[in-house]
């Protein structure tokens, strides 16, 4: 199937990447080439083959339920492009969200 400009626009929106209109067509071409190339995977017989979910065969290690982190709002907000020092404390600022 051909990956058209509409699909690229939809995917770009899902990925929240602004793509200029004039880039849509060439990008569709590039992505279509890649997608066509990876489609050769369809040739592999994968009946009764489990998908790989973990590369290493090992048991997951579970954390103890104990407080061992946090308490440093300055460290987590220190790099924020719009860090807000509100009387209540430190927030991240973003354009108004309308629900």
């Amino acid at each position: 199937m051909a990956l058209d400009e509409g699909t690229v626009a939809r995917v770009a929106h899902l990925a929240r990447i602004r793509v200029k209109d004039e880039r849509l067509k060439p990008l569709a071409g590039e992505l279509d080439t890649i997608v066509n190339w990876v489609e050769q995977l369809g040739e592999v017989d994968t009946n009764n083959v489990a998908p790989m979910t973990s590369v290493v065969e090992m048991q997951a290690h579970w954390r103890q339920d104990a407080v061992s982190d946090g308490g440093y709002s300055d460290r987590v907000t220190g790099n924020a492009p719009d860090g807000v020092a509100d009387p209540e404390g430190a927030f991240y600022g973003v354009p108004k969200v309308v629900e």
Binding site: R16, A60, W62, V76, V84, G89, F91, P95, K96, V97
Partner: protein, 483 residues
Amino acid sequence: MSKLIKGKTGEWEVVIGVETHAQVSSVSKLFSGSPTAFGAAPNSQVSLVDAAMPGMLPVVNGEAVRQAVRTGLALNAEINKHSVFARKNYFYPDLPQGYQISQYEEPIVGEGEIEVELEDGSTRTIGIERLHMEQDAGKSVHDRHPGKSYIDLNRAGVPLMEIVSKPDMRSAEEASAYVGKIRSILRAIGSCDGNMQEGSMRADINISVRKPGEELGIRAEVKNVNSLRFIRQAVEVEAKRQIRLLESGGTMVQETRLFDPDKGETRSMRSKEDAHDYRYFPDPDLLPVVFDDAFVAECKASLPELPDTRKARYVEAGVSADNATFIAGEQDHIHFFETLLAAGIDAKQAADFYTSEFLGRLNKADISIADAKVNAEALAGLLALVKDNTISGKIAKDVLDDMLESGEPAKAIVEAKGLVQITDSSAIEALVDQVIADNPNQVESYKANPKAIGWFVGQVMKASQGKANPGQVNQLLKQKLDG
């Protein structure tokens, strides 16, 4: 008992499924060691992992796994010894990773079922579709700046269990009873504190309507309904809205709606022109959650008595079914009731006194159990005085009023006010004789109508200022009047 709703074009059936989000009662987050406590300063309970700093990785909290398994067992559900965390991808500022770690195709708990009791005494079995673990999102604050929203990530990463019901409910009452039952089970086993006001338990209600026998209709999801009362109201108004819409020729759209309890309506939350495509895939930062039968057995052994078993035990002991369901459904009630039982109070008497006298007074005065000046031990002290005939049941009610007012123990009040019951037969006999002698006309009418003995009992009790033992009064009166 038809639950159908009458519309202009005939009867409609409402079909309800519920997704309950219950915060696991853990001290730390699902994938990091920052705290989960409620009400801290913004972004003060946020680790580098919760803030999704570059290169940060999740490590699962074993307590969340254990509580999910215990909850699954309490819901009579299938436990999956191999489950997988998956990423649900979408952009939102309170979702720092750009994805929520949840479980999708392979949840930790599969199908189960619970029984819910309805007001008419009947029960309904409601199917559980699944339970999975997931992380909560942060919070957007919209009211502190005219042009901006502020983001607080304190809740980001808090462990949740999402319990998904089958679309098995058919009325507002059933939906609310179901959530109430889930809540009492979670609280009984301690996997969630069930506090709907603080948001540690939230329900999303999926509602659709159809003509009986027809295919399922298109549903609306009503979000974050945070009390049992609101669940009832939300279902009622949403079902009515849908019926009105369909009967006036409209078509339903699948959408998310918000219940506004002030206006008593639901309204569309966000138009979904932007159809979600969550692109779930197994989280490569986490290994599958795997455990053995021994772990499940350990979880099972740790479960306390569940509400259904407890209720049955109470009914067996003589408690009415209504009271047994009521008490067994709530940890505070259980604590009071079990304290009364332990003090040797008769089960039926304890249940009746607790529900109608004690809670009745609290409700009237709008006092919570936690704020009442009478605790379980004090109440047991009061009923012990009735049990050993120190005071009558009637006096006990007056003493309870006093206790709730002053916080003094029952015994002190009874002694201070001289309320000790008169059990000396000669003293009672004197009062009985006096009343008979003073009321010859009444004695005559008693002969015609033996039920009038009640009037004599009342008079004797009055004369004793309520202190005479009513049993003895009755007995002596009968003797004298019949003799």
